[in-house]
Structure formats: C-alpha cells, structure tokens
Symmetry: C2
Subunit: 343 residues, 2 copies
Amino acid sequence: MARASSIKDVANRAGVSIGTVSNVLNGKRAVHPELQKRVREAVAALGYEPDRAASRLRGRSARVVAVLVPDLTNPFFASLIASIEASVRRDGYDIIVGTSNSSVAEEGARLSTLLAWRPDGVVVVPCEDAFPAAALIRRAGVPHVIVDRVSELFEADAVTVDNVAAGAASARHVIDLGHRNVAVAASTLALRNIRERLAGIEGVFRARDLRPPNPVEVGLDLEVATERLATFLGEAGRPSAFIALTNFATLGVLSALRRDGLGVPTDVSVVGFDDYVWMRAVSPPLTAIRQPVEEMGRSAWDRLRSRIEGSRDPFTQVKLDCDLVLRGSTAAPASPLGADRAA
Amino acid sequence: MARASSIKDVANRAGVSIGTVSNVLNGKRAVHPELQKRVREAVAALGYEPDRAASRLRGRSARVVAVLVPDLTNPFFASLIASIEASVRRDGYDIIVGTSNSSVAEEGARLSTLLAWRPDGVVVVPCEDAFPAAALIRRAGVPHVIVDRVSELFEADAVTVDNVAAGAASARHVIDLGHRNVAVAASTLALRNIRERLAGIEGVFRARDLRPPNPVEVGLDLEVATERLATFLGEAGRPSAFIALTNFATLGVLSALRRDGLGVPTDVSVVGFDDYVWMRAVSPPLTAIRQPVEEMGRSAWDRLRSRIEGSRDPFTQVKLDCDLVLRGSTAAPASPLGADRAA
DNA sequence: TTGAAAGCGCTAACAC
DNA sequence: GTGTTAGCGCTTTCAA
C-alpha cells in the first residue's frame, strides 16, 4: 500500500522548495516558467494530488459540502443528491453524504459526524418538521440550507416547493374533469409540506363550494398502504378520482386499484406525485405533479455558495413551482358527475 | 460564523493538557476518573467533535470511503449507495460520493479528486468495461472494490452478479410458458455484464434447439427507445415475449407496447430487470429479475473492510445470485406456441 | 498518570 | 522569484 506522494516528494523531484510547489499549484504568486515546468512534470510523474484535508487545515477551504437526507432509496432524495452533486462539482466541491434513516435521533448523530469534516456548508432535508439537530449546525456556525421540509420556526435559508399551489393545481384539474368525489392519499400528514399540499386542495374545493376530500394516511409499506386504501375503496361512494400527495402514496393508490380490479382512468382517475421515467412508460402513463428536483438542488447550492462566500443577506426561503404534467391517468368520470354522494 | 471548538478549547475548559483530552476520547491510555469526567463535561458543553481531517493527518484513519458511480439518478446506483452507506456507517465510516456521468474522461478526473481525500478505501462502478482510471487507484495504493461491472483484464476485488444465470432463468421462464419468438432489449451491449445476461439467454435457447433471440439496443432516452422497439414490433412475426436486460430497457419495452396498444401479458409477456416498488404497484405487476443490490453493497464493504484491515488474500470476485420474481406480466402466449415463425 | 513537544501535509507570512 | 518557517488540530512519543 504505497503511501500517496506528498508535496515534499514533488519538491524533491523538481529540485525546488515546497513553497514553490505550492505556488505553482495555487497560482498565488509568480513562479519562473522553467521551475513551473519542472514542478508540473514532477506532479504528473508522481500522480500527485494535494491532500484536501491537510490543505484545509492550514487555512484553505476543503471544498466539501455535507448533505444529509432521510433516505437514499427514495428516488426524490436520490435525484436531489444527484443534482446537488452536479452543481457543487462545477465549483470544484465534493459532497459527503449521510442518511438519517428517517429517525430524528439518527439525524443528530449523523449530522455530528458530518460536521466533524468541517465542511464549508451543509444541505439538509430534515426528517420531521421539528429539527432539533439545527442547534448543532448553528453552534458549528456552518452555512446551511434546508431543503424540501421546513418548519415554521426554524430560521434559515430554505429551498422548497410551492406545495399549496401544487395541491391546488391537482384539485382544479380533477374538478374541471367533473370529479366531485375525490380522495387524497399521503404517506403521512405529519409533515408540513404534505399538509400544505392538502391545504391547497381543500382551498380549491371550498372556493367552489364543494366538500373537501378526506385524506388517507397510507404509511410507507406497500402492503399496508394497499390494505388501507382498499378498505377505503370498498365503502359506498367510492371516489372517482385519487390525488396522491407523495411518490410513495402514488404507488399505494395504483396498487390498491389494481387489487380491486379497478381501471385507470376508466373507473378511477389518478394524479400521481413526483415525476419519474416509469410514470411515462406504464399504461396508462401517469398524470402527475412534477417537483423541480433538478432546480431545487441547483438553487440550494446557489444559496449555500453565496453564504460560503460570506453573504450576510437575511434568510430567504426560495419557493419553486411544480408543474402538473397531464397524461393518461386522468379523465372525466364515467357518470357525468362522478360516483357522487348526491346519488 | 463561530469557529468550531478544538481540542485546545476542551483542554482549557477542563484544565488539562490536550494529550489528556485525546486519551480520554480515544481510550488508548488510562486517565484518572476525575479528569475523565471534567473532559467529558467540557466536550459536551462545547459540542466538541474531533476534526476528522486533522486526526487523519496525524496517523489515524479518517474513516472515509470514496464511492464513484456512473449516475446517481439511476435507481440501481442510488440503492447501491444507500446500501454501502448503511454498511460503512455501522463501522463508523463516512462516504464521499462522486459521479462519473457515464463518461470515462470524467471518471478519471472524479477519481483523482476523490483520492485527494486520502480515503481508506474506494468503491467504484466503472462506466465502461475499459477502466483506465484503475491505474490511479493502484498508484495511490488504496484498497478498492469494483462493483457490478468488471472487465476481464482488471485484477481487483469485485462484487458482481451471476449475469449468465440471471439471463438463463428469464429465458427458461418464457420458454416454459410456451414462448418461442422472444425479443431481448438492452440499453447497450457495450457492457460485459449485459452481454453475459444475453449469453445466458442464448445458452438456454440453444440447449433447447431453439433459435436464440436477437437483441435490440435501445439507448438511454425513452423516446428513442420507444421508437426503436416500435419499429421492431411492427415487423411480421412480432415477438410474444420481451426480456429486458436493464432497468431502463424495461421502461422502453413497456412504453413501446403501450404505444402500439399491445396488452401485457395478453399480447406480449414482459420480463423486467431490477426490482423497484413501482413494479409491484402497476398493472400488471412486473415479473422481473431482481438483483440483490442490498447484498451487493454489504458484500463490497465486507471485502473492502478486510483489505483496509490489512488482508493480503488473493483477489476475489464475489458473484451473487439474482432472483426471478414471478408476477403478472408473463403468461402463456395467446396461441399455444406463440406468434411463431413456424406458422 | 500526566504534560510537553514533535510532526502529519499543507499554505501563507516572512526573509532573502 | 525563491526558500524557510510557523502553525492549522490532532495523535503519539518521550519525559517527568
């Protein structure tokens, strides 16, 4: 296991001092072309790459940002990380990633170890509205941005989505198609962003003098979700349309409808949440609310970078717009006014 | 932006030397209980967490492993990283992740910057069979494990899947159902692991004296994939079953069938690749080849850890088994022997 | 058992 | 324009 070569090795090989090597590499001060050449040759020959950690220790930034998400197997978080990684890389930064496993306790623990790297900045998707680990970040005094989930209390830069508008758009869509008996599925209602989506839906229903739909919490296990939604479907006055408020809820709805042999959109229309390639490939392709994940990552980095560079602006909360992507899973209900309770 | 507290701050507050603080924290040498207590109190009060980078510099491992994958938006790689992260965390390690963007050039560049962290180990999914960046890793002398894609030449520890067996299982399944005219879709055939899957299929067909199916390369864009498969479907002698060799090819097949209004499995049976929750939720739920992603990550870390701990065993190539998960997308062909060319 | 001090690889301030 | 050196935060000798 050959020790990686150090700046000393390069200096020896090039016959210069380590200071000169550093100057060539960082370009802070002019160095004679001849020496430059010799240094660069030595660097190439040895495959030297400055030690990021050592370099940081002596005053330079390590150019690393820590990213903490609840769960990497959730495609939304994976896409978010992909976007953040692409963004930071453009500025020569690396990311170190951690997972809180959707547990507040682990969240704090993970954050601590992430902070032990003394990152230049931190991007977090808290696993619950309450985000006690925020204290750790503030104590460390590290620039940070909260993404996706934001409690009302926590004062920090944040990047979210206009959840109310997203919910409203989906509600308008199904109402305009003629649906009156609409159901809403969410993995949980404990998160503010999800409740906001629901509020958006309720707002539209109320504005049109319709009774707002009741939400169903389906959890995070497909069997359980299917079960819960199935009993719901069995009841009299089965809804003619479903709006899913999370990507997992979308799967639950689809699974429950399949189990009951109900056709989409013939028997029941479905509005999904998030937009993944599979939603375009399946039959019918899913009408869905698309979150601008890509842009969320970029936006989080923009804000974080400006903080890293010393910005002292007041906290901002960026709210990005979702699109409602119309595809084949929504249609007018079979009977003009839906399987209506007015029957 | 408060500077994070250092070992010195802790020492001052506890009224001991920094050496004692270090000994309390690392437990290398006995420390008087009273002093221990004072140190721990100071640590808690200051929220002190030792600087990983500085600690590594002075001889300790930093407990990081670098992970490089072609693309984080691919759910397979995302799941793999999730598994690796969970595994390494159990041993107190962190991961720093990079993406090669499926480009060999970027792969080398990314690997260099990842190596600049002097990680204890590296896990790589190369983006092509040729893996020139391997030279960088070897020169650095860092323990490493190659996952998923392995060229014949490169000598290193590797964790893969038994691709031949996986292909064979899918072939046997559709043949047993009565299909004779079978098509195979892959995003690309430039990767050895995918060619092995195909070889597995061909082997079974030949062993049963059937003409092996021709493969279609569909690329990585859904529109393009749909197009390519659609022309294929339009031809006389349309296949009665499709086997997809990658998760993306699965989507292409589904999309093409939908476009042509063909029912699954009534008109065409489909065997998908990889196993994600959506495959269980949609109608029909997909029969698919499940790669043991979870286990792949764990296994890669097991091997890597033993190398980090100094193991000098010869290189091993772990080959894990895939399952064929039977669900609703495969069935006997409409006419007993399929839309056969023997007609 | 504890403290003092060397030194890891690097950058930046200082000397020439 | 170049070399020398202090010192970042830490672990680990070496003395006491």
